[in-house]
Every structure is written in C-alpha cells, then in structure tokens.
Symmetry: C3
Subunit: 311 residues, 3 copies
C-alpha cells in the first residue's frame, strides 16, 4: 500500500500525533467549478479548515501515487489542466498504473483518506441515485464506498440533481446513518430545504463526534452522511433551482450526455443558466462545510484523548 | 467494542463454554405486537428455547450499551414503553450515543449477536424487498446485513406484506442460501404456502447445522435464511390473508405511512382486520421458530465438539 | 477452510512457487454446452492455457470438497452426468454438506480460486443484469462476488443475452474496473461489438498485469472484468445473433423458465436455432480467452518477482 501513497509531511505528522485532519476532494476543482473560482475556492476551503483548528489534506492522483495534501501550485494545476481524469473507485488502478493525472470523486477520496488514516472528509454534496435510476440503474459508486469505508462525509446533503428520496432509501438499505445538523429537514444542496425529513438530527459538533466515536468504536464499518444546511442567505431557493435542474436534465438527455460526464455537465449548465447564482451557493456551502467539518474533526480528536481505546 | 456490549452472565457463560445460545429480537416486542400479548409471547418464546435445550438471549439497547439477555422486567418495559426507538443498523450509533432505548430489528439484532459470539437468531419473518420496490427502492437493511454477518436466521419466511419473489432474487444476488425445513415450497409467513419454490430444502436440525458448519467453516461469510413453515392448523390461509394485506397496503398509501413505520402499521392493521387471527398465527409461528431454532443450536453445538477447528 | 478444499498436486506446487495459474469454471461444461463439444472444449482450453505458459485449474465440487484441478476423466464426468448441480455462491454449503456433484458458476469458481490462492480466472462471459431486471431484479451473484473477491475475470464481455448497459452501470456502482483489450468498444460475447464504449482500454497482457498489481497492491479488493473480443472471423455478427436472443427470451417467457435455469435454456436455444454457429463462436471465444488469460497470468507472475511485497 505504501508504494501507492504519498502523504505531505505536515499531514503525516498531524495524523501520527492524533491532530484533527480534514480530507478534501479534487473533482470539485477539476470538474465541478470553472477556473479561476475553482482554485480560489480550493484555497479558501483549506484556509477555512485551518482557521477552525484542523489540517486540510486535498487528495488527488499523479506520478503513480495517491497524494494526500497538495501544494498551491498543484491545486492550481488541477484547476486548469484539461487532461485530468475524473477518478472514481474503478478508475484508480488504471490511472495509477498508466501514470495519469486523476481528480478524485467522493468514493475515491474516501478510500485514499482511509488508506492514509484520515476519518473525516468535507465535500459539497454526495453522489447518489440518479433521477430515473429505477430504469437506468445509474447509481453512484459513492454509495457503495460509504457502505464499507469508515470515513465520515460532511456535505450540504445529496446533490439535488439526483433523486433524493431514492438515495435516502438506498442509504437506509446499506445501513448508512444520515444526520442533519441543526434542523429536522434534510438540506437540499443549493437550498437548505429538500422536502425530506432527515433520518437523524444532531445539533453540535460534539454530538456528531460522539456518534462517530460510537459507530466505529463498536466495529460498525462505513460512513456517516453529515448534512450541513447551506446558510439561508446564501442558498438558491428550492423551487427556483428545481426549474433549472429540470432544464439541465432535458439538455443532458437531448445531447446524450452519459455516465461520468452527467454530473459535471449538469452543474455547469445550471451555473450558466442561473448567471452564476448556483456557483455562488456552491462556493458558500463548501466553505460552510469546511468550517463545520473542521469543528467535528477537532471534537473527534479531543474525544480520542478522553476515551483511549481499551485492549 | 467491549465498551458498547453488556452480556448477561448466564448468556456469557453459555457462549464461553460453547453451549447452544439463541438470539432473539426486541422490535417484535415493542413495534410488532400489542401489549400484553407481546410480553407474554416474549416470555413464552424464551421458555420454548430453554425447553428445547438452548439459552435465550433477547437483544435490545439501553443505557448506552447493546444488551444481550434481558430480564423479565426489561422485556416488560420494552413491551409497554412508547418512546422506544425501532433500531436498524443505521440507528445504532445514534441511539447508543444519545442514550436512548432501542428495540432492535433483524439487522441490528444480527450484528449485536455476532459481536457477542452468537451465530443463531430466531425471529418471525425477515424484512426484504417491499412491494413496489422496483420504483420506490424500499429494501430492508436486513438483506444487506444478511449478506455479510455470519448469523443464521430462523424464520417463517419473508414477511408476506413484502414482495417475496423480488426478495428471493435479491437474496440470490447477494449469495445468501435460503433453505426450507421439511417442504419444497417456501412458506409465506402467516401461511405455510407462498407459491414460490424454496431454493433449497433440508429436513432435520442436524442437516441444517451441517450446512451452517460447512458455510462458515469454509470462510463463506453471511447469513442463511432458514424458513420454518408455520404449523398448518395455526396458519391463516394464503388467499385469506392476502386480501387483508392488500387493504393494509392501500390504507398505508392513503395515510402516507412511510419508511420504518410501514411494517408496524401493516402488521397492526392486519391484526385488527382479522380480529386477531393474524396475531395468533404470528404468536404460533414465532414459538414454532423458537423450538426449531433451539434444536438447530443444539445440533450445531454438538457438531462443534465433534469436529474441532483445525489450525 | 482446508477441510473443504482439495488442490491437485501440480496446481498446488505452481501456486506455492508463484508460477502462473489460470482457474477455469465447470458450469460451462455441465450446463453451457452439449456433449461431446463441452468435454472436447474443456480439454482444449486446458491445453491452450498450457501452450501459453500457465497451469490450468478447472474447478468443481464433489465428495464434500471444492476441487481445484480436474483429471480428464473428471472433466468427462461433468460433461455427461445429468445430476450435476449448477452451483452459485449460495449453493456451495448445501452441495458440499449434502455430498452432491456441483459445477461452479463464475461466482463460485472465483471464490474457490481465491481460497486456493489463484487470482486469475478465464470464462466465456460473465453473468450480470438480466434484460427486464428493472422489474424482475434478476441480477447474477457473479456481480456481487466480483465486488469483493480479488480474482480477475478474463471474458469475451458480458453474456449478450443480458442487458449490457444495465450491467455496466451496476459494475460502476460496485467500483469494478472494466477493461477491454485492444479496442475502444466493449465486445458483445458472440460478437466483438456491443454498441457500448468500454470504460477502460489496455492493449497488452503486461499493461493488464500492471493494473491488477496496482489494484490489489493498494488494497482495493475485488475483481477486474477483462473483456477480450472474439476474433472477427469467428464471431456471430451482433445484429444476426440479436434476432435469436429475442426469440430465445420469448420462448423462455412462454415456457416460464426461471431462476438458475434461464441462462442454460437461452444458450441451448440459440445454439439450436443458429445451427450451431453460436456454439462455434462460444468455443472460439473461450479458447481465445484461455490464451489471453494465460499470457496475463504469465505477465503477472513475472511482475511478482520484479516487485516483491514490502512489509
Ligand atoms: Mn453513474
Ligand atoms: Mn425501508
Ligand atoms: Mn438470477
């Protein structure tokens, strides 16, 4: 495993000494936002993690290794280079063995974080069950990975281009806890509403850290989906964004966009047709998640000291 | 793990010395039957397990621990208290870390049994693929858990409010053996008929113990669904019960009952509309399963002595 | 585990000394082809593996053991005997504990190969998502097994009686790499075309061995589907075979063929209605896969020596 993993010294030191570390993905940089907002956001997200007491570790693949912790010039490269693969779990061995550049999705980032010993990961929103998946069977590998890899995911909920109801059913079938912070309703990514009740609710980083500690402490492998509502003044209201999602889905259908290209296409289409309003919400929510994620990591690391593992 | 597990001394001693132990769930007490029949049945089920040579271990969650083996006053509490959570796998860390009372479903009971070292579990009927799940994706976490946790489940089949055909397909996809005792047809929970052929058939507790021993001995993780037909004189005939299931499903739809509340709602509705006939069948089948489960546990424990593990 | 596994001495010696070994299934012999072509093909496939530098190990179950490596008289028995079970994962403990004869499917063969320490397996085509599975949920256990057992499968693609598009989605959800050798299009079993782009493409046995080495070396459990197009002059063209597949599916429906009997029924029906043309293609593609699989096993074994495992 060591042959395929390269951890930045600062991150390595933090992991080894039990300091709070927050993993971050790179697909949002290369395939989720336009340049230069992607790189600016990536840098600000890392700063937000630091400002809240944790060490950021953005994850990507290049030069035959999974890289945990990127330099600013590396973030910048991933934000501009066109030949970067969008790497989900199935693509990892190909991109590594062919020595390509890979930006990691939620699934791939979780796996690499787990390999490095990081158990908290901040993203915008997770992949899930696509609209129409009852017929297309288009279901993100993120959900499979969440079923067995013990890395918690802080998000603004399930990406609202997806079918949120079906994704909740799938998460339940896989035994994955979904907990919303501070409200009873599951947030809807761009909006703090989704019309779905959250299966669980907790209100503080300490309560969430206790839940994670309990889950993994009792040997329940797998992720927890932590849903952190976007601040009300920065959201795009649910009904407003839904109109654009519908149009984006129709455009994807008309242009026969498929597979791994669908999500990047939809996000781009929606940003363009909302004059960047959706992009601003996306930037706001990921920064908000970074702050919350760092606080949970801090609370979790404190708990580690409080209750050392018994033998 | 030890921090989250509390095993009754009698049960602990039995596990440690290789005596037959049968795990029992608590959702059937708190959410599956009305008081006082629920508590009476829970006590009689434990007595039936003892009468057939095994030690019963009813499982529930309270005071921050997974409890394996309950006292009569504790069974009684779970049978009357209204604020008991129905706890599937995803709810376990929440209920434990928030210090709530939790009654465990098939999935959660299996996991706790496995943590305690118990490999046989008796229930009424398992959760599965709900009717209409081709569109709703409503599939019980019981099936996921059966795919990887090595605890055999003795049941009267798949709960007949579900889609039995789709559940059989799902079990096949997951590689989970389904074996019916003493007949070629899979039983249908309230009835000993289902109109589906059982994938496998065995006729004695010893044959089933040998199958379990072989499965786990060769490293095939996961459960075996053991389907034990309700005695003919205690069943509700298939066509008779189906009318009530259809009406109950329509009522659930009209009242927008969803998620974890569906199964308790349906069972209650059917019991009321059959003037308790379905409840009597439910009580009869769970006792019948307890007797059979204990016999299998006895045969399995005997086999353990006969063929000690090689190194 | 040892109690249930019997490895032929030549195969055992090859595994122990790191020589290339190729696992082969037995369902193709007992349920996939008519006698005598089935036995002739099984023998020629083993010869092809040897001619390309690897040791063949055909896998089947009898006398209470999983057998790795069969003698010619044993291949012949499985090719003629009528009472041989088609054994998928769920059937293994039953067939072993009841002392029956079992021919192993892709899923069961993979599992036994993994138990024996073999990581490459050659077959015709894998099972997958059946046509209409959006409603029937008929999905092969092969896909579940490929999700967690680290044995690569060399095939001519997904059996074309299945829904190839849905199977590709399912493989993506499970994180299973699909790599086609030497062309951009996924092959379609009897034909080298499928109308689906292959998720990944590599051109040499060495590249594929490097991908496998990377995947398992970094701890990514599970299979890789290696799709090896049938040679053009031996294929049945896609549109020609599709007519027969449709008729076969209609016949299966009319005769209510179900469950594990469907695939053998369809293959037989198609062979009869193409005057054996499909059978000839099937024989050609399995031999072609055997040659390619052996070359990959040779390249993988060479790589093992080159990069010994670190501690
Ligand atoms: Mn997809
Ligand atoms: Mn459900
Ligand atoms: Mn099937």
């Amino acid at each position: 495993m060591k042959n395929y993993l390269a951890i930045q010294p600062e991150v390595q030191e933090a992991i080894a000494s039990g300091k709070p570390v927050v993993a971050l993905e790179s697909t949002i940089i290369s395939h989720g936002m336009p340049w230069p907002q992607n790189v600016e956001t990536a840098i600000q997200v890392e700063e937000t993690v630091r400002a809240n007491g944790a060490i950021p570790a953005t994850i990507a693949i290049f030069n035959g290794k999974c890289r945990v912790g990127l330099r600013t010039d590396q973030l910048s490269y991933f934000g501009q280079e066109k030949n970067v693969w969008k790497v989900s779990l199935r693509d990892m061995p190909y991109v590594l063995s062919q020595n390509l550049y890979g930006a990691t999705t939620v699934a791939a980032t979780m796996r690499i974080a787990a390999m490095a010993g990081i158990n908290l990961f901040v993203t915008g929103g997770i992949g899930g069950v696509h609209r129409g998946a009852e017929h297309s069977m288009d279901i993100s590998a993120d959900l499979t990975e969440m079923g067995h890899t013990s890395v918690a995911v802080v998000s603004a909920g399930i990406k609202s281009i997806l079918d949120i109801g079906l994704t909740l059913e799938y998460l339940e079938t896989k035994g994955i806890p979904v907990v919303t912070i501070g409200q009873d309703e599951l947030p809807g990514f761009y909006s703090n509403q989704s019309n779905f009740a959250s299966p669980l609710r907790l209100d503080t980083p300490e309560q969430i850290a206790a839940l994670l500690k309990t889950k993994w402490g009792m040997g329940l492998e797998g992720s927890v989906l932590i849903a952190n509502p976007v601040p009300a003044h920065q959201q795009v209201p649910k009904d407003e964004i839904e109109v654009h999602i519908q149009q984006a889905l129709e455009a994807a259908d008309a242009q026969q966009i498929k597979g791994k290209n669908i999500t990047p296409f939809l996000l781009k289409y929606i940003a363009r047709h909302t004059q960047g309003e959706s992009l601003q919400a996306n930037i706001a929510l990921i920064k908000n998640n970074a702050a919350t994620g760092a606080k949970i990591a801090v609370a979790f690391a404190a708990k580690e000291l409080e209750f050392p593992e018994e033998n």
